[in-house]
Subunit: 531 residues, 2 copies
Amino acid sequence: MRLKCALIAITLVSSPVAAADPAAINRIADQAMNHGQVVETAAYLTDRIGGRLTNSPAMREAERWTQAKFKEWGLRNVHLEGFEFGRGWWIESSRVRMTAPRPLALHAIPIAWTPPTDGAITAPVIVAPMTKEDHFTKWRGKLAGKIVLVSLPKDPKDEGEAPFKRLSGGELAEKDEYRQPVYDPSEARDLAKWFRFGRRLDAFLKAEGAIAWARMAQRDNGLVHGEGYSFRTGETPSLPAVELAAEDYRRLTRLAKTGPVTIEIDSKVHFDDSDSKGYNIIAEIPGTDPKAGYVMAGAHIDSWVAADGAADNAAGSAVVMEAARILSAIGVRPKRTIRFALWSGEEQGLFGSYSYVRKHLVTRPAQPDPEIASLGPWGDQTYPITPLPGFRDLVAYFNMDNGSGKLRGIYAEGNFAAVPMLKEWISPLASMGVTSVVAKPTGSTDHIGMAELGLPAFQFIQDPLDYGSRAHHSSLDTFDHLRAQDLRQAATVMASLLLSAADSDKPLPRNVLPTQPSVTRPFDYEDPDKD
Amino acid sequence: MRLKCALIAITLVSSPVAAADPAAINRIADQAMNHGQVVETAAYLTDRIGGRLTNSPAMREAERWTQAKFKEWGLRNVHLEGFEFGRGWWIESSRVRMTAPRPLALHAIPIAWTPPTDGAITAPVIVAPMTKEDHFTKWRGKLAGKIVLVSLPKDPKDEGEAPFKRLSGGELAEKDEYRQPVYDPSEARDLAKWFRFGRRLDAFLKAEGAIAWARMAQRDNGLVHGEGYSFRTGETPSLPAVELAAEDYRRLTRLAKTGPVTIEIDSKVHFDDSDSKGYNIIAEIPGTDPKAGYVMAGAHIDSWVAADGAADNAAGSAVVMEAARILSAIGVRPKRTIRFALWSGEEQGLFGSYSYVRKHLVTRPAQPDPEIASLGPWGDQTYPITPLPGFRDLVAYFNMDNGSGKLRGIYAEGNFAAVPMLKEWISPLASMGVTSVVAKPTGSTDHIGMAELGLPAFQFIQDPLDYGSRAHHSSLDTFDHLRAQDLRQAATVMASLLLSAADSDKPLPRNVLPTQPSVTRPFDYEDPDKD
């Protein structure tokens, strides 16, 4: 294994796309493994600061603390970049109990951006499942004074798969299958409609005299999540609302079939309107060649608040911060500037990273549909795209947001030409488990605002651990669902890739700048009955 | 498949150990499947009555309700049989929160039979892991005014197995491996010592001026359990105590490494000393031959209180009740009396079923060691055993307490001679998944007080579902972790077996009445350093 690595190192030095000095990679690994602080950083973000909802006091604390750490570690140009967002909101305490037919504590969480209850409120429940406005008719006149259970109580699932997983070699290989991404214009419209339904449901329940509502958690096993999307100033919900653990929700619905059921909600939550802007945190290691552009690592640091935002995404944030610390600690003097970004507003629609795109990279025409525009910049699939001067400077972007598992490879996001260079750069670290580069595009997080412009912007293939099964957005997303060795490995890989990209003789190849949405369903008609 | 069943049926009719009329089995299946009430019964016990701690008001309600149901269904001789137990205890409400360094709701449950906090108490935590009295020295003088975290925060586990399981044919076959049970006299002594340590820890913490204590849940994933064993009148703990979810407990211990941490406990619990006796619930279908003895089905109906005691053991209780309802509904007139028992006090040490053994089956000398005697009757491994007149009357006992999964076979509990008869009795129901009879002995529940006397007392092999991984004793032991088809299958099997045993020409063979503890380690010495 050592001999093989040495041969690869020689290859790298003599290559026209020469990566970082192999000795630098060894110093990176030593810093990450033997002098690492990624575990302490993740612990501070999770245990000490806790869940970091965009614009909440905890997120403000994270903005201050991460800047202080970057400065302490010798990073330069440490600053915030703001974008318009909406209200801050946080939970001081909350309690939901069944009071009849018997006293019982329920697992629940206030839904983000819903108002407080102003002390405990107690009322009978009514089970009134509603998923579209047509359903309102059935319940009109029946909801006054009630706490309305709006979800259909779906049956529990038989959990026949292991919750905690690592990718086998075979599973990793299976990820290397390119498929053209499907552009479906109805996706943004459907989402806008769903948010609109949420607003209308709130208004309907309020008009009917309901005093609060509750929904059922999507997962079983006592987990709660509490995501909410009505965060704009002047648009937050009018009624208190909670998400109940599936087991507790179903129990209420069964009991309600046989007699009266009363619950008590005491939701002590607060809005914070001191600043409607969200802020990305930026820091740099300056490059020696001002004309060579920059490379960047990023991760969103905002989270939901059912727990401490550990796997989603203190893990990625701590790894990005640790890469910065490591590269600063070993005293690199890269050709290109290395920039570090901790995004905010990701959970509500990639607001932070898209604001970066609009500020530094491109302009696009305004979205004509106001409802889609309300989704935020990621609803803006408008053309033509006009590059800004900063467009040519971004040479590589690496994003971490697939949980806390070790990095097993790179999604090259449709940038076929970049595959060989990325493979070469990770090759010295193969024995750490990072072995794969696949062209497959992926979605759902902060790289897509850049990747969709043809920029070399990548995400990582990670061991899943219990991200999908348990931690993602849930009340279990705590430090305990991180693994120290995985975080150290990820910091090693991230720092190495950044240095390779920053020092590479040739920049990473770019993809084509698109001139229209990709057309993958040329013969589809739209269903006229679809609302 | 039908043809095969018919052939088996013919065999049964002509067999010298003739089981129930095959037509009766079909009527049983029809009642269980098409007119079943087992789901409604389980829902009432769990959703409506909830967790049924021995001697708690909920358990009293279960005693009343189950008797009423037995009577409604036409059972005879419905009555309670009492045994001395201790105090009742129940949770009206409880809340545990971290108040510094930040506000955060914690998942927690008061430990059974600990006192209330008398309003919210708030105090700094100290992490002081203690597992034996030697450890007290280290913490003496440091605990005054503190909430003491007494568990060592063990690392989280990678949950690499599916939580929900059914037995494959191969796994079922692997259970058929007889091993001589190990009688280890240190087991009872170790348990008595552990309980003694618990009492001394409570006294030590009280003497040191600690105001409460907390332990860590044994399982991850936010589950809590809250088992406690100091339930005797005059011996309940002096300090409030809670069990914290593992993730929450570990967070407190990590934060305490870097600064002060304060938590608030509001434990509104109540003792109920209206009656110190626990009660088994008994009901019968009288036999036509008063000299033929009786067969019995049993399950404990008491539970812990972190949830609703569903898989442990509303499932078994509902199946026993449903078997009674089915046999009554189809109008059986069995040769032998069929008795149904719902045991209480199982969770604290098989108190209910052992009291039945002492009242109806045998007498044994008093346990000379008072500490082992304090464990209750199951600590009484004393000899000689003297049969009572009722000893000869018990012809078969079937116990259900291995969760809520369908019955896949029978543990014949070392009664080799009974295997062929049991196999024959289940053979018509093979297509329902019950196919196996194994001689292997099992422990831990209410059949052992009878099986250890050589009586034909059996437990079932059941599909595990998520009993071991999730539900057992935990905050997830709710109705949602039951499966309707499994309960109906179990009721069919239970009713069929009871009728086969009640009508069998020959009674089931018995095992040898033991005259001394089994000696399986003749050459062991006891470790003199062991406390």
